[in-house]
Amino acid sequence: MFIYIDNKKYQCSPTESVLQVALRNNIMIPHLCYHEDLPIDSNCRACLVEADGSVATSCDFKVEPNLKVKTSTPEVKRLVKTNLELLFAGHKENCPKCQKGYHCRVGVAIRKFKLNPKKYSRPPVPRPVHKMAAAAEIDPNLCIACNKCVEMCEKIGINFLKLDGKAAQTSVNYNHDKKTDCIYCGQCTVHCPVGSAREQSHLEQVEKALKNKNKITIAQCAPSIRCSIGEEFGLPPGTNLEGQINTALRQLKFDKVFDVNMGADITTYVEAQELAHRLKIDAKYGRQPLRKSGSIHRSPAGRGVGGPMFTSCCPGWVKFVEFYHPKIIKNLTTARSPQIHSGGAYKTWWAKKQGIDPRKIITVSIMPCTSKKYEARHKKLKVNGMYPVDYVLTTREFYILLEKNKIDLPNLKKSQVDREGTFSGAAAIYGASGGVMESALRSAYHFIAGKELPQIEYKQVRGMEKIKTANIKFGSKQLKVAVAATAKAAESIIQELKKNPASYDYVEVMACPGGCIGGGGQPIPSTEAIIAKRIAGLYQIDSKMKLRRAHQNPIVKEFMEEYIPSLPKEKQVALLHTHYTKKQKFE
């Protein structure tokens, strides 16, 4: 089947819309409320075309054989301009990025379409910007009611957001129900086309720190950044720019370029040890039936806790447990998360090695995530009175910083991380759903049996499915594992475990689709197809590395096997472990 767009013939399938055919063929039709993974709402009315002689929205116009579509008749152009000017009314005045002269997608569109953003106006919505803890925020006065954040929040399994109000005051609001709370995943921010839902910016603080000569600034990038930042520069998703990022960070005047991947290796080390420990308890005491309280922990009280063990490096998932399922707090690994592990290591072990006053260190994480901003402000994670991580930039904020400093990332020379940022392939795959699980599996057997399993790759836990389960041969045993991406997927695993606590021994959960690589701080657009390509990039990094097991990372060995044992017990715990508590709404 064919349609004609601007007199050119294009092949299409009968289920496609005109917009889908156009986008597939790189024909530019402006659109704000269309997202390929979400329902077609057709409410922004910007994707106008002339189809069969009359003006129509292309997102919900199904193709017909030999349909004739025109994208730029004078009428279409005029209407698109009017609708965009209506949609962007009040944007510049309310957008903090535009106000500060930072890169803003709407600002770019305004220039590109030669729009007059002040031609029309919109009535103020009498609600302040709502901050979701220290992670994200929603501004009702920038919202264009496209409904994507609401749908995405529902898809994640939270339903915290909704559209509220009527007529021109229709805009995003949060759910006031006491039993519903945000988990800070930031999926609203990565699905907002206009920056109404956005990260709480740390850009100014980071710029200030970089100018401060009395500070030692450390940059550490999360595993996922390297395979997604290229998208901001027009490169295909999954392009690995690790070496260029290291160079760029030095150009930005960071004193040290380390890596959250090193922290991920520490996390794996600690978590795999804990998994080994829990499995031993299980082996000794057997599995307890479900308690009346609904709790799914299995070991006798006072004897420590056996499996199933859940990962805890996703602060969104942890918040989900602490708010919605406090009864399974005991099942979360106490291992700190990668950025907190490495941040803490740099402010203690590395500072001591270098003879530096750790109070002079400013650690800046660059993360694909907004909930990492929330995590960085946890007082309970402080080390010697200091936050392990001072500021967190999202991938998008990192791009703003690069753009502002006119750094053409793709064309930079590659360079290595500084020595204490060295990492293994196990860390590189942390960004993908199933990656934490796979990394822990590569190390756990070492801690159980004192020897290595020959198997490195666990392909059963890879991929974009929301729930992946596998029986893994683990020496003489079968280890039952599950990997869940999105809170909704986690919820069904939790329900399964409540029915049968023996369903799984080890469960990885990430709040976002595809894991951190599909995180709320990633470049826009972020679609499942794009995420899958980014994931392929991460596994490629791992497959090319010689060092593929976290516990074999020499830096991690130095930290874990020389520095940590030299500390008193409580300091060891303070650096490596954390604890969780039941949370109230907005906590």
């Binding site: 409410n43 005029r78 106006s121 007529a167």
Partner: protein, 337 residues
């Protein structure tokens, strides 16, 4: 009553909510849709200005309306009736309606009352269904139409009160081609039940509403309806919802436009950008300047007409265009709309 569908068809009954869709087609579609559950939604709410006939009918002939409800439910083979009840109307008619509901419930029918905050968008069938389901009151994409996938995704028949009243008359073989006219702006405001094929002029004269002053009228709703001059009404009949509002010829254009666009700016559901922000900006433009910026208003109206999601936004140009053409006779280009 097996031949009721044929009778409705022969009577030429059309919906009296404004859209004028042939009732028998709706009935046929719902009856032939395959589903265990089907619903009748009674829309007892008039969100448009200048309309007050449905409450008049309910106050005068509640029994007739309910026998229409029963005919419709029996025909589609359902016992479930959702009753969209304008909260203002509820106060005024509950003493008549609630006992009837009780009586029909005694006969095995089930009624679910939905107390509606009076709204214009509630006149859009799918928006009404969303509201009843507890969702945001905004229209759904069509197709699917409510007749095949309506309330809770089941085939649903939606009728307003006048249509149900007419259905009852058809059932009793008493239907004549008459309609209810809401008359306002004249000497004898009120609701009149008169032949549907009378000219507007005849309706005004017969009801002693024909003004002594120079005038124009707006028919089919006092916001979205068409504006006609006193010559045009000699031959024209009322179309859409049954209302005729008389305005003195010296009515200030800006006042009339503000009446319309303040209404739209307040009543737009907010779903699509041209309707929600177009109506707000037209109202704002009118308020800011004493002189009407027709060019900019027509620009916005074009957007609303050609790119709004639902019919309510698409129809906003009708009163303005007809007012300019028929009454103001301005020499401005209306090509865009």
């Amino acid at each position: 009553m097996p031949n009721i569908l044929e009778k409705i068809k022969q009577a030429g009954l059309v919906g009296r909510g404004g859209a004028g869709f042939p009732a028998h087609l709706k009935w046929k579609a719902v009856a032939s849709a395959k589903s265990k559950k089907k619903y009748l939604v009674v829309n007892f709410s008039e969100g448009e200005l200048g309309l007050f006939k449905d409450i008049h009918i309910m106050q005068k002939f509640p029994d007739v309306v309910f026998s229409g409800i029963r005919l419709a439910l029996d025909f589609i083979g359902s016992r479930d009736c959702y009753f969209n009840y304008n909260k203002e109307y509820y106060k005024k008619t509950k003493s008549l309606v609630l006992p009837l509901i009780k009586r029909y419930e005694g006969a095995g029918y089930r009624f679910y009352i939905y107390g509606e905050e009076p709204s214009y968008i509630g006149g859009e069938e799918t928006a009404l269904l969303n509201a009843i389901e507890g969702r945001r009151t905004e229209p759904r994409a069509k197709p699917p139409f409510p007749t095949t996938s309506g309330l809770f995704s089941c085939p649903t028949l939606v009728h307003n009160i006048e249509t149900l009243y007419n259905i009852a008359l058809v059932g009793q073989q008493k239907f004549e081609n008459k309609r209810f006219y809401c008359l306002s702006g004249g000497k004898s405001e009120g609701v009149y039940f008169l032949p549907a094929d009378w000219s507007i002029q005849k309706v005004l004269k017969q009801t002693e509403n024909y003004p002594v002053f120079n005038f124009f009228v707006q028919i089919g709703g006092s916001v979205s309806g068409e504006v006609l001059n006193s010559n045009q009404i000699k031959k024209r009949e009322v179309e859409g919802a049954g209302s005729i509002e008389v305005y003195p010829i010296k009515t200030k254009p800006r006042d009339l436009m503000l009446k319309w666009f303040d209404f739209y700016a307040c009543e737009s559901c907010g779903k699509c950008c041209p309707c929600r922000l177009g109506s707000y900006n037209i109202s704002k433009i009118l308020k800011q300047n004493k002189k009407i910026d027709w060019k900019e208003i027509i620009n916005l109206l074009e957007s609303m007409e050609k790119t709004s999601f639902c019919a309510l936004g698409k129809m906003t140009y009708i009163p303005v265009e007809s007012y300019i053409k028929n009454v103001l006779k301005l020499k401005i280009s209306l090509k865009q709309i």
